[in-house]
């Protein structure tokens, strides 16, 4: 397979990281714009330490990056990491496009005759 695939372990980290609603929300927020860990912590009903843990999980999964800026820790989306998830979804989308084409072909055969809707008249 000439696909630039994640190692199974790395991919597991990505998917486990995204299996949590708070972490998905963090990814969405920092994809829209970067945020400090303390800025994120203000938005959730959980401790700073808990948010920091979530960010660490996302960082290990290569979905976000964290950098020190002065006294703040700035969280940004890691577009390479997200890109890999998108690529898998792209591939899966392609599978459904092909399925849809096969369905259209099957329906064009007209078997069994669809009542009323069209008249192939043979």
């Amino acid at each position: 397979m000439v696909v630039d695939q994640l190692s199974e372990e790395a991919a597991d980290r990505v998917f486990q990281a995204l299996a949590d609603a708070t972490r998905r929300d963090i990814v969405r927020r920092v994809t829209a714009s970067e945020s400090s860990v303390s800025g994120l912590a203000e938005r959730y009903a959980m401790s700073f330490a808990a948010v920091q843990k979530h960010v660490a999980v996302l960082e290990r999964a290569t979905l976000v990056t964290k950098q020190k800026r002065g006294r703040e820790q700035i969280v940004r989306a890691n577009h390479d990491g997200l890109q890999r998830v998108r690529r898998l979804l792209d591939d899966y989308e392609n599978i459904w496009r092909q399925r849809s084409d096969r369905i259209a072909d099957l329906l064009a055969e007209g078997t069994p005759p669809a009542p009323g809707s069209d008249s192939t008249g043979d």
Partner: protein
Amino acid sequence: MTVISSAQDPGALSLTVVAEFDAGVERVWQIWEDPRQLERWWGPPTWPATFEKHDFVPGGEATYYMTGPEGEKARGWWRFVSLEAPHRLVFDDGFADDDGEPVAEMGTIHGVVTLEDLGGRTRMSVVSTFETQKQMEKIVAMGMEEGMKGALGQVDALLVEPARA
């Protein structure tokens, strides 16, 4: 173009594909209901699907296998969570081992299919939500081979006049 739109939500690991077909909803429902029709489109030509069991009732199960180019078999199962003929179908799709037993750690793909009547035509939307990367990679790996052949198949389709008479 059969597929009219699609939307990905990487954060939620979900994908929505919307397609339109030149057939009524009752007819399109049959391609899910009838296992002989289902197996003509579910698997790619390189990995055709064979449904051994297809208990198309709410709570019912289906078991199937897909046969690869080398004769290898990939087994799967479905559970029909809810069926509202001919408009809505909710099912879980999972992997099975060689004995047909569900492989729990692979997780399930949750599918919600909606058929909308467009006055003789049908709009079908399929929302697929994944749980784990393994299921996605496995399915995609099987679909990728089809990617290239599919492209060639499309050329063939252009060359063959879709004669209807």
